[in-house]
């Protein structure tokens, strides 16, 4: 059918985001409602579920080009773009945005969680009003993917970061109307959007409903056109389908891994045998069965295939200790390791499993505790308050932690550097292996995708064998919308990139 214009798109929101500034946030609670306000230089195609280098499309940039040494990336910008306040968009805005992200400008973000993405960027330069270039320290083909993420909008130069937190101004298809904390976020159509004829919607309205039951009931009763993206759990999905049989529901992986962070600096996990035993004791299928009724994926650091681009092949995966199909055999081996370390049926190891007081953290921790009972470990759950979680982790005041790692882009550079590089802020376990570090750089600079894949597999396997941060599983979640909602695509290897909604329309 031909797209129709008009209508307000009503979505419930799972919680109240802390601000409206995407750059200062690190949760898709921010991306979902505020991505429609902005544009990137480039963006992943909004209608292809699997993000990859080949689905990157120009947005504010008309085109882009790598220099011969692969160290400069130049964007030609559109000339017909205006900020929502009427000011014209120019290359200066691009420079401003990325200078600020790199911490080089006068004005500062209150917090800048993705500063490390631009580690390799030497500087951003402009050439006239409509050309901007990223000069790199070394080749990094992945940069383009990072720039195509929902996390990389271009901010206006003339609006202060503080204002962007409360009244964001963008170039995107929708303009910000209001954000009432704990209540609602309202966006309205940008009539001057540079893509003529878009958007179709008159506006988008997010009603903030932290209580999931109420929210789902609201969707079922027709008060909302769509659930909050990727927030419907598998059991709830069944419920929604039974009550609203017409609803369209999809279940997709969202590139979030559930993993165990191990404090290897202190006993008992400074002992590699015990770490190995732990890795061997995991029954990943059981986790997936319980958490997702079977609909989850087993893999390493990178999101598993087919949705993930960089996953190890199955046979390679199964060679890694603990990934083998025979759980009992694995555990037998694990017990031996434990006995070697001095534990046994009469001498159990007493530990605490720390995690946050959120179901997606707590539930796997409960399963974990139950599973490691089989290898003489008596664990107790230690639920940690949000404000204390990272300080506690940073203090190394834990022995085992249950953690979730979300990846904005299905891109090894992002995962590896963020989580496993020596000295990285998010390398909670302080895993540091100079050899692997070299491999990180090697794959990063590699422009040949196939070669790069091999390198990535090797790294991933090694990381698992080192029990750096045992990955338990990769989650899948559901999203539902009413049948009349058209042109919504849920990304299958990230949950941060697919919310521009410029061509979503309502067939009512």
């Amino acid at each position: 059918a031909e797209p129709k214009s008009g209508g307000i798109f009503r979505i419930y929101h799972r919680d109240s985001p802390g601000s409206a500034s995407i750059h200062e946030g690190a949760t898709y609670s921010l991306n979902v409602p505020f991505m429609p306000i902005f544009n990137n230089l480039v963006i992943f195609d909004q209608h292809i579920a699997q993000n990859s280098a080949s689905t990157i499309r120009p947005e504010l940039a008309e085109s882009w080009a790598w220099s011969g040494d692969n160290k400069t990336l130049t964007f030609k910008l559109r000339k017909d773009v205006k900020w929502h306040d009427g000011k014209p968009f120019t290359a200066a805005d691009v420079k401003c945005t990325f200078d600020m992200l790199m911490g080089k400008s006068q004005q500062k973000f209150r917090q800048n969680p993705r500063k490390s993405w631009y580690e390799q960027v030497e500087e951003v330069t402009t050439n006239g009003d409509y050309e901007a270039s990223f000069k790199l320290k070394r080749p990094q083909p992945a940069l383009l993917s990072l720039l195509a993420s929902g996390y990389s909008p271009v901010y206006p130069c003339h609006v202060s970061p503080a204002e962007m937190r409360t009244k964001p101004v963008g170039t995107g298809p929708f303009k910000f109307v209001e954000f009432k904390a704990n209540e609602s976020i309202k966006l309205t159509k940008n009539p001057d959007y540079f893509k003529k004829g878009l958007p179709y919607l008159d506006g988008i309205e997010f009603t903030i409903i932290p209580n999931r039951s109420t929210a789902i009931l609201g969707f079922v009763s027709g008060k909302f056109d769509m659930t909050f993206p990727t927030e419907v759990s598998i059991p709830l999905l069944k419920d929604v389908k039974s009550q609203a049989p017409n609803a369209v529901c999809v279940v997709e992986p969202n590139n979030v891994s559930t993993n165990i962070i191990i404090n290897s600096t202190a006993p008992p996990f400074d002992n590699l045998d015990i770490r190995r035993a732990l890795a061997l004791a995991l029954d990943r299928k059981a986790f997936i069965q319980i958490m997702f009724e079977g609909q989850g994926d087993i893999g390493g650091t990178m999101e598993p295939a087919p949705d993930g681009l960089w996953a190890m092949p199955k046979d390679m995966l199964e060679q890694i200790p603990g990934y083998g199909p025979d759980i009992e055999k694995n555990r037998e081996e694990a017990r031996k390791l434990m006995q070697k370390a001095g534990y046994g049926p009469d001498k159990h190891l007493q530990i605490k499993v720390s995690t946050r007081n959120i179901a997606v953290y707590r539930d796997p921790a409960i399963i974990l505790i139950d599973q490691i009972k089989s290898i003489y470990i008596d664990a107790e759950l230690d639920v940690v308050d949000t404000a204390q979680w990272f300080p506690k982790i940073a203090r190394k005041d834990y022995s085992l932690g249950l953690n979730l790692t979300g990846n904005a882009v299905d891109e090894p550079d992002q995962s590896f550097y963020e989580n496993y590089a020596c000295g990285s802020e998010r390398n909670y376990t302080n895993y540091c292996n100079k050899e692997i570090e070299k491999l990180f750089d090697q794959q990063s600079e590699e422009t040949n995708t196939d070669k790069r894949k091999k390198l990535v597999w090797e790294i991933d396997k090694k990381l698992q064998e080192d029990v750096a941060r045992p990955i338990i599983f990769h989650a899948r979640t559901g999203t539902c919308w009413q049948p009349y909602v058209k042109n919504v695509t849920i990304m299958s290897n990230s949950s941060y990139n697919g919310y521009r909604y410029e061509d979503v329309w309502l067939d009512k």
Binding site: P235, A365, Q388
Partner: protein, 297 residues
């Protein structure tokens, strides 16, 4: 004039109910609802005491193969999404719920009675100070306290009990104080003074027993409502921490996801909570009636 059966009237008045058991049996059949309440309460107390004996599985043992099993001979109340036996969890949950209920009610009511009695009976500056204290306690919403305590001390049974008990103090204190204010002026209090009783003893022996009716009603209502409060705190993620099975969390976590697909996860903890609350309240009313000397019998 309707004919009157003297024997049955006398029986209703409890004339032939002699001895401890006779009296008990008589009261039991006079206060049917109260008896029901008492039976329910005893049942829960026994359950809590003998949880290890009655429960058939380890309440914490996860079993992915038998998750969400419907009630059957194997799992009387079915299993939850972790494959844990719901019956065993409810049985063990009785301990927690009763610990919360009895613990926080006792703590809150005792302190409340002390504050209320002192403030109403002694009046003067004691009243002034205690009134401010109750005002302050009343002004701190339960959830602020609960949040602060769990954040500062970590979620644990004693902390939850304490957090729930604190708001009870001003409630009980205010009711007791109101009663005491009126009682203080009664001639029998003056009479007690005249025989040289200490203020303390007057407060405890003469004033307090005459506030027992509202106290019982309030305390039993609170006993029930603390169980509910724990459930609500669990709903907000502030209750007794996992993996200990508290009824409130069992209900609140299953309510949303499984009410249609696995209703036993919702029904049984729900029934357990409601029954416990129901029982204490019924028993409370009956107890109040029995302790009222002016009731017949």
């Amino acid at each position: 004039m309707a004919t009157i059966n003297f024997d049955s009237e006398l029986r209703r008045a409890g004339a032939n109910a002699t001895g401890g058991w006779g009296r008990f049996a008589f009261l039991a059949q006079r206060h049917v609802l109260g008896t029901v309440g008492l039976v329910i309460m005893l049942l829960f107390v026994l359950t809590a005491i003998f949880a290890n004996v009655i429960s058939r599985y380890d309440p914490l043992s996860v079993d992915s193969a038998h998750r969400l099993a419907a009630p059957s001979a194997l799992h009387w109340f079915g299993t939850d999404s972790f494959g844990r036996d719901v019956w065993s969890r409810i049985i063990h949950g009785a301990r927690i719920s009763l610990a919360v209920g009895i613990g926080s009610t006792t703590l809150g009511a005792t302190l409340g009675v002390i504050v209320g009695l002192a403030s109403g009976y002694l009046s003067g500056w004691v009243d002034l100070v205690f009134q401010r204290v109750t005002d302050i306690l009343q002004s701190l919403p339960l959830l602020v306290l609960a949040l602060v305590m769990t954040a500062a001390l970590g979620p644990s049974l004693p902390n939850v009990i304490l957090a729930i008990a604190i708001p009870l103090i001003p409630t009980v204190a205010r009711v007791i104080r109101a009663n005491t204010l009126a009682l203080r002026e009664q001639p029998f209090v003056e009479a007690a003074k005249s025989i040289g009783m200490s203020e303390m003893r007057i407060a405890l022996r003469h004033v307090l027993p005459n506030t027992i009716a509202p106290l019982i009603v309030l305390a039993t209502a609170q006993l029930g409502s603390t169980i509910l409060t724990e459930a609500s705190l669990s709903f907000l993620g502030l209750g007794i921490p996992e993996p200990y099975p508290s009824w409130g969390r069992m209900l609140s976590e299953s309510a949303a996801e499984y009410v249609r697909t696995a209703p036993w996860l919702v029904i049984f903890p729900g029934i357990a909570i409601s029954l416990a609350v129901f029982g204490t309240n019924l028993f409370g009313d009956a107890l109040r009636d029995i302790l009222d000397p002016r009731q017949r019998g």
